[in-house]
Symmetry: C2
Subunit: 150 residues, 2 copies
DNA sequence: TTTATATAGTTACAAACGTAACCGTCGATT
DNA sequence: AATCGACGGTTACGTTTGTAACTATATAAA
């Protein structure tokens, strides 16, 4: 049954698994404590750190498809965490910004995020974090690894 | 709107994004050429490299939930890429193994995988790959990063 | 031997997703 | 100003997912 191929040595698999390992317990926190999905959390993070922006901008900033953004914005709007401000110059889009309530939760969750990141840093150790930083930077830099664009 | 928090600097986010960037074009390949989902590809990879095993073993080996495994096995069975061999000592489980057809496709796809991995290695460069390897190893080693097990 | 508990695997159901179609608005061309 | 293609955003639809309930078998205890 020998083959020379092992999933454990395959980079896409390992990266995916690492990503899940690292994300899981944080995702569980914001889901349990605030009932947020990941698209919602990302939308909140984008608006909270950058400020008012359009739905499209949110997608660009946090690398999410526009349907995900649309649904996340809709859901956060229901909770009154954000509001839409129509643009009078071009009525196709609106500026979206957090409400006071939204900013309040944003702050709470970023505290969680900071804490979590520190936990990760401690668990992995300074050296590993440095390696990770460099590796991620390289991947981000080469973004667009696609063989045949399609 | 300043906050001190940036998604771009948040490790879970960056890892997730990196994982998607790296996986996407390979996933597209096996999906387009063989109409495989990721759980199916992982199941194939597990069976191909290790040999016959139970559904539970597949889940452990490739870190997939049993429902994913169950569905993937079912689907591969339909294509006659694998067969089930009931255990007479304990009829709750069966050994699952690739058919000749399944092994044939396994070989084809592992070739793709090798090629793809080489592409990644070249794109990222030796240095970055070394960093990535070390970082992933650290994450894998600390697996079970959960704060409060739940 | 009946009862209880655990385990391997499947299925049912609801939530989340991606693709594609769609709606309304804009700018450019005529 | 009528038409056309492009764009921001939403919705519809089918697929994939996760959780939980379930089936069937096995083991252990009463």
């Amino acid at each position: 049954m020998e083959s020379g191929f092992e999933l454990d040595g395959f980079i896409p698999y390992r990266l995916n698994r690492a990503s899940e390992l690292i994300s899981l317990s944080f995702a569980r926190q914001y889901k349990q404590e605030f009932d947020l999905t990941r698209p919602e959390w990302r939308t909140l993070a984008a608006l909270g750190s950058v400020g008012a922006m359009t739905a499209k901008d949110i997608g660009v900033h946090s690398h999410m498809h526009k349907t995900k953004v649309s649904r996340a914005v809709h859901s956060l709007e229901q909770r009154h965490w954000l509001k839409r401000i129509p643009s009078y110059t071009d009525r196709r889009f609106e500026q979206i910004e957090l409400t006071a309530l939204g900013r309040e939760y944003y702050r709470k969750i970023t505290v969680l995020a900071h804490t979590y990141q520190e936990t990760v840093r401690m668990k992995l150790g300074e050296e590993a974090i440095r390696h990770l930083d460099l590796a991620l930077a390289a991947i981000e830099a080469s973004a667009g690894l696609r063989r045949k664009s399609k």
